[in-house]
Amino acid sequence: MSILTLIIKREYIARVRNKSFLIMTFLSPLILVGMVLLISYLTQLNSEDKRTIVLVDDSGKFETVFFNTDQTTYLNLSDQGLEAGKEVAKEEGYYGLIHIDSNPATAESAVTFYGNETPSFGFVGDIEKRIEKKITDENLIARGIDLNTLETAKSSIDLQIENFSGETSSKMSNWVKAGFGGAAGYLLMMFIIIYGNMVMRSVIEEKTNRIIEVIISSVKPFQLMMGKILGTTLAGITQFSIWVLVGGILLVVLTTVFGIDPSSATAASPAASQAQQIAQDPGMVIEILQEIQKLPLLQLVVGFFIYFIGGYFLYSSIYAAIGAAVDNETDTQQFMLPIIMPLMLGIYVGFFAVIDNPHGTVATVFSIIPLTSPIVMLMRIPFEVPVWQLALSITLLVASFVFTVWFGSKIYRVGILMYGKKPTYKDLIKWLKY
């Protein structure tokens, strides 16, 4: 067995056998599923909460506008007047009271809501819209315009986008593409943050165990670093797969057993319910599916694997280099910023520059620079990237990974001689020259 395989194997086993690793591997999906179930349960409780609102309409025109829904019941007490209505609402513990002036089109305070708590934005907007629509319609009729005529006169334009080779796409496609890239970018960032730290700790391990001199007089630091990165990555992939698997199975089992719909957890906010409306619109779903089919799927999958693995390796090699420079974990804080910054930059550039102009200078440059390329290029790939840019970006990514590991191993070797001293950036540069 080669030295590298030996190291990878040991690192993998050391990681996987670690007690906290084992606990986290099997506890995390439980916690996650528990949270999802809890949230969806609470949401269901919340939505079962029916409210009754008293309506006092002095103008008498709006009763038809406030029709009952599953969650809201309107109680029309217009004939009893505002004060009596208020009394009833208070006594019965109703959610509130809507009072509409006798001449809402002109009055200063045309519509008022009385209640114990301040209503949500969604609620306020909804009420305003209903009354506005009714008044506008009346105004139009008063000015002699037929509402049906107006409706038929309205027009809506959908811009068709087509490239010169005849492929059409739509507005929707941009969002699907960006969504794909964004999801991949976030996944990568999560993976880096969780497992990059693990690589760093494993590099420090030899120092805290004082075995570094024995190891380094047996293997090249480069082999050690590489072995640690690969071994830890494999352990990370193992854990991640178990999470997805166990979490998925648990979710399916629990939802069927308890009959709780986890998707209701996301339907809590008005924005999400709008999204749900879109999703319920069959035409929209078909359009999204069509867009997904139109994506260069093979290129995407291959690109995803290359950039995900390449990006993860590059970042974990930086973590390894940091581990090589310090004696213990508390000294690592000052070096964290340079890792987090390019990651954030990648995400921001991805969401602003790429979606705005996928082939603009900013997007192109950042998709070639190794530290940001894994995220930015992943977001650009759906928009068809020239082959030379892909080639250049991948080459740079791999080269900088190997360089960082080499650099880290150089620091590692010199770092032995510096037991107990906290390194500064100046030291790092000096060590390079040794």
Binding site: L6, E205, R210, E213, R413, I416, Y419
Partner: protein, 312 residues
């Protein structure tokens, strides 16, 4: 005798600090070589250079006649002063892993590990974790790890620190046996008396300079000064004073310190090349009964102190 290891005018500086200044040593094959000197003299730096952990600024190191290369690390077994093993790894797995890193096959490593564990009577530690062992027990594992791949050159930095006397002797015997089987051994220590009797050759290092090296016996011969510890039984103080006076006229005389059972007077007499032991004995005979007459062989410690003060 062939020399297994040659360091040729090796220098190493860290920033402004000179750790080694043109140090040359020659370690004969099959010998036990003592690399001696106080703390901070540069011993560990030299050993790290031999182990290719750091590179010398100038000078070169030959192992078996070849300049050091990566594959040579398999010919060296190194027990650093900074002892350590993976704490959460099981003893057996750890020993196998480290032996495999040194190029042994798994089967070979297993066979040899079993052999050593039996020999040191530590077989029941195989499935324990290092953190469950005591410091001395972990040191034994460290020793096994160092010698298991049967290296040509064994390097022990402060070999006996951390061992109790029984285990120190056990390890000492094992090292001597390895030497008899053909290994060459380098001991590096600042406690010179602890390895003095074991070493055939020594090199003294002080403040990054080598100040002395060679075969232990010839060094001692060069530093022996015709000095004798003598014990005489005399009738009374006046007789002793007379004897002391006579000796002091000719030689350098200091009070002697050695253990006796009687009440004899003790002196240390440095004759240099002024006289011979027989003449001294004759002189002493005239003053009383001679009970002790013993040549003082300089210890490495004495030689070191003498050389350092001479070089100042």
């Amino acid at each position: 005798m062939n020399s297994l290891l040659v360091a040729d005018t090796v220098s190493k500086t860290f920033g402004d600090f000179t750790a080694l200044n043109n140090v040359s040593i020659t370690v004969p094959e099959g010998s036990i070589f003592g690399l001696l000197g106080p703390n901070g003299a540069g011993k560990t730096t030299l050993i790290r250079i031999i182990n290719q952990i750091t590179m010398p600024d100038t000078g070169r190191v030959l192992l078996g006649g070849e300049p050091l290369q990566q594959h040579h690390i398999r010919d060296i077994g190194y027990m650093p002063e900074e002892r350590g093993l993976y704490k959460s790894m099981k003893v057996g797995e750890q020993v196998l892993y480290l032996a495999q890193l040194k190029g042994l096959s798994k089967a070979d490593a297993k066979k040899r590990a079993k052999h050593w564990f039996e020999k040191l009577e530590i077989g029941d530690w195989w499935d324990k974790k290092i953190q469950e062992l005591s410091k001395g027990q972990a040191q034994k594992i460290q020793f096994v790890v160092t010698v298991m791949h049967q290296p040509k050159l064994l390097i022990f930095d402060e070999p006996f620190s951390g061992f109790d006397p029984i285990n120190a002797n056990l390890i000492k015997d094992e090292i001597l046996q390895l030497r008899d089987e053909g290994a060459t051994v380098i001991f590096s220590t600042h406690r010179m008396e602890s390895v003095e009797e074991l070493c055939d050759h020594i090199a003294l290092i002080n403040k990054s300079h080598k100040i002395l090296d060679g075969e232990v016996n010839s060094i001692k011969r060069a530093y022996q000064n015709n000095t004798f510890d003598v014990g005489v039984q005399v009738v009374d103080d006046t007789a002793f004073a007379k004897a002391e006076q006579e000796l002091k006229a000719a030689f350098k005389v200091t009070p002697g310190h050695f253990k006796t059972l009687g009440n004899e007077r003790k002196l240390r007499v440095e004759m240099g090349d002024k006289s011979t032991p027989n003449e001294l004995l004759t002189t002493l005979k005239n003053h009383g009964q001679v009970t002790h007459f013993m040549e003082v062989i300089p210890s490495v410690n004495d030689i070191f102190i003498q050389t350092v003060s001479q070089n100042k």
